[in-house]
């Protein structure tokens, strides 16, 4: 968000009397406080990325066995329950899903690697 946009938003807060606005984005969180005529703007540091562990052993797949591309790309938004990978056990495929809404950071285990229980599979930044 640009400074100009921030000023516009801050102006709205003053006009409407809203005390505080939290804005979440992929790069972190903005906090705009309306302190009775003056507004302060703070950029919070990024929330820590969440490493999602494997629920059980298997071969981790970052893409569908029939497809060339990964389920999710770095930086893209994911919603709770969305499939971001698979654990293959023999012929069985078990989905690995995003535990919360957020932004996908990267895969922590490579495609077609054997992983054990609790091995980090991917990182995401929850919103």
């Amino acid at each position: 968000m640009t400074n100009e946009q921030m000023e516009v938003v801050a102006g709205w807060l003053v006009q409407t009397g809203i005390a505080m606005l939290e804005l979440d984005g992929p790069d972190g969180q903005w906090l705009i406080r309306n302190d009775g005529g003056t507004t302060t703007l703070t950029q919070q540091s990024k929330r820590p990325a969440l490493a999602v562990p494997s629920p059980h052993a298997g071969v981790f797949l970052t893409r569908h066995p029939l497809h060339a591309g990964a389920f999710v790309q770095a930086g893209s938004a994911v919603s709770k329950g969305q499939i971001v990978g698979l654990l293959q056990v023999g012929v069985l495929l078990v989905p690995v899903v995003a535990p919360r809404d957020g932004v996908f950071v990267n895969y922590a285990s490579a495609d077609r690697t054997l992983v054990g229980y609790a091995t980090p599979l991917f990182e995401m930044r929850p919103l």
């Binding site: 059980h56 029939l66 499939i83 056990v89 069985l92 495929l93 989905p95």
Partner: protein
């Protein structure tokens, strides 16, 4: 209840087929890719013979008037449930009112033609002569004995299991049991009764050349284009029973492979028969693609069928195991 929203023709209700009625002239019908339908039913906890919708032409759209679990097996595709992607061979839950759209997919590791929409509880059309498969020639079975049309409403049976928000999947058998010769999809064939009646040259080329599946190919049969297959002398046979997989050579010299809706009898000379174990591969071969024939012995053909049986056993075992593991891991949301 599922409502068909697209006007695309040629989709039919199919189970594993209708047996015991050949003597009335009623062919087996049933899914062209039996492995895809069976695996879909296993994933959903259905009876393995539950009916699904076989979809050969896209786009295809349906609306679910009731919540249900579903899985799309068979060919790779681009599908979405409202706006959420639906991955092939992975179960998903549809809420009442949601719309499933299936479109022709891009490049895939498996170029195949037919998608199976399997739903928990199965497509619950009435049984006709012991099967829910559509008998197009006889105009019975399936939904009113015909291909599905826009506005058709299909009843869904009672699901055997509680709904699961995010399900499981199976590695498609085309990846587990690949078969190619010189980078061309291969189909195993046993010699048939009139094999020796064709010229030596014809027999050599039958095995050595690739065969194109022409646009005149459907659930009845695949008409192939390739080298001329000529008999040593004219053959006029008495009509006899035939089965899906039989490769007939009419006088024109271009083979026709009998498929699921093929008539149960015929009289053109037979050069070979696609083995039962490979009919699902052939049933998925797209129009315009090519196949190669590989000769096998009886023992190899029986062994190949055992491989298919073993694969299905493994699917049953792993899906049962998967349900247990997921419950213990508290994976189900």
């Amino acid at each position: 209840m599922i409502e068909i929203l697209s006007s695309t023709a040629l989709a039919t209700v199919q189970d594993l087929g209708r047996f015991g009625a050949l003597g009335w002239g009623v062919s087996h019908s049933g899914a062209m890719d039996r492995l895809a339908l069976t695996a879909g039913n296993i994933l959903l906890g259905n009876d393995e013979n539950c009916a699904g919708i076989e979809i050969p032409i896209f786009p295809f759209r349906v609306r679910f008037h009731q919540a249900c679990d579903l899985v799309l097996t068979g060919a790779d595709h681009l599908a979405r449930l409202d706006d959420v992607p639906v991955w092939p061979w992975l179960t998903i839950h549809a809420g009442a009112g949601q719309i499933l759209t299936i479109e022709r997919g891009g490049p895939s590791r498996w170029q195949a033609s037919r998608v199976y929409l399997c739903v928990a509880g199965g497509i619950d059309v009435p049984l006709a002569l012991g099967s829910r498969s559509t008998q197009l020639r006889g105009q019975f079975g399936g939904h009113q004995g015909r291909t599905l049309q826009q506005g058709d409403r299909l009843p869904v049976g009672v699901a055997a299991q509680a709904l699961r928000p995010v399900g499981m999947g199976i590695v498609p058998p085309a990846l587990t049991m690949p078969l190619e010769v010189d980078a061309t999809p291969a189909i195993r064939v046993l010699r048939a009764a009139e094999y020796a009646a064709f010229t030596d040259q014809s027999c050599v080329e039958f095995w050595a050349k690739s065969w194109k599946i022409t646009s005149q190919s459907d659930r009845y049969g695949y008409r192939l284009a390739g080298p001329m297959i000529e008999p040593k002398y004219p053959l006029e046979l008495r009509s006899h029973g035939i089965v899906p997989g039989v490769i007939q050579v009419p006088h024109g010299g271009q083979p026709i492979i009998q498929m699921r809706d093929a008539q149960p009898s015929g009289g053109y000379p037979k050069i070979g028969t696609v083995i039962d174990a490979d009919l699902w591969r052939l049933g998925q071969a797209p129009i315009g693609s090519s196949v190669r024939f590989v000769e096998v012995t009886w023992a190899e053909a029986v062994r190949a069928l055992q491989d298919v049986t073993d694969w299905l056993d493994e699917v049953r075992r792993m899906v049962a195991l998967g349900l247990t593991v997921r419950q213990e891991a508290g994976h189900d949301q």
